[in-house]
Subunit: 204 residues, 2 copies
């Protein structure tokens, strides 16, 4: 990725405008003219950075992936002393990143368009959703190797942790269309109870 | 509900046509003319049975609710001997009904439209999603009263069971746009492992 701050700022503006346009007008309806104008960029710049509309969509996937994964990938198991601490840290990162407003908007977009554009949905599902689960699974496997957890199938365990933490907030945000549908206190108590259930099943 | 078979058949045809039209053209774009024509019904009949487009949408919610809830509400705890049997039966009913093709299509529709029509999303969230959780919570509370489970907060426990069972299949179907994205064998093994985790946390 280009690290020139001006280029980065322009890229970010274009991606924001693209997400807005996709969410508002659908993938088909979104116009690269409008995206360029909203981002105060030339159409030429949009094409230079992203190719075409599909390139914009793929760049948005990378952007969402970065948000969700970077923090999880950087979670260093050697910084923890036991399984509970690792699971709690992982739960907190997963919850914060998946409930990020931009990630939630993007998920809604993917779900809305998946029937018409199966390739888009599959690209997101494999490139973001499954990838996160893979990172989580690796971490749970490491904790299991240290004897901190008993995880036979790390991928299924990762699914279980995600489901315990995210089923309610994600559905409530998706279905009500409100990003403030979940309070901080609800996220906190959801973390506590989800981690407790996970540990009951996977710690002994 | 009217139990005249002809009326019921016409109602069902109109609801099917409405769901197709909403999914294809969005809530705003869907035309009651097209819905009536697809259902081989007169527009007058559509209006007589459902009022307007919003009435059609609300009738679809009821239809989805019936599919998901009827089976769960009818689950008779006295037919079981222990917590594991109850949880397994509940898990099977929940999984089958939520993964029903029509329910999944309707969920996608709600998610796609929720940002533009928050009322629609809220009506579905409260009238279907939360209602199911309530029924599940009642059943888990009954099992807990019999000493078969240890459930302090039945509603949270219901959320946990749903998340453990549905996070993966529901997301995979929603995001890939494919109703065959989950195999029977995957549903079965997902049930087994989800029930196991739930019981580890809530049976002792």
């Amino acid at each position: 990725m280009n690290t020139n701050p001006r280029v980065e700022a322009t890229r970010a503006r274009i991606l924001n405008a693209a997400l807005d346009a996709f969410v508002l007008d659908g993938y088909t309806g979104a116009s690269t003219d409008v995206i360029a104008a909203t981002a105060a960029a030339s159409k030429q710049t949009v094409y230079k950075y992203f190719g075409d509309k599909e390139g914009l969509f793929r760049a948005l996937i990378s952007d969402v992936v970065d948000r969700v994964h970077d923090s999880i990938v950087r979670l260093d198991i050697d910084a923890y002393d036991d399984g509970e601490a690792v699971v709690r840290a992982l739960a907190r990162l997963l919850s914060a990143s998946v409930l990020d407003r931009r990630v939630q908007r993007f998920r809604r977009l993917v779900i809305a368009e998946a029937a018409r554009f199966p390739d888009i949905g599959r690209a997101y599902y494999e490139g973001a959703f499954e990838l996160t689960l893979g990172h989580m699974a690796d971490l749970l496997a490491s904790a299991s190797e240290r004897g901190w957890l008993h995880v036979d199938d790390p991928r299924i365990a990762a699914n279980h942790l995600a489901g315990l933490l995210l089923w309610i907030p994600s559905n409530r945000i998706m279905m009500t269309g409100r990003f403030d549908a979940i309070t901080e206190a609800e996220v906190e108590s959801g973390l506590e109870s989800g981690v407790r259930v996970f540990l009951a099943a996977y710690r002994d």
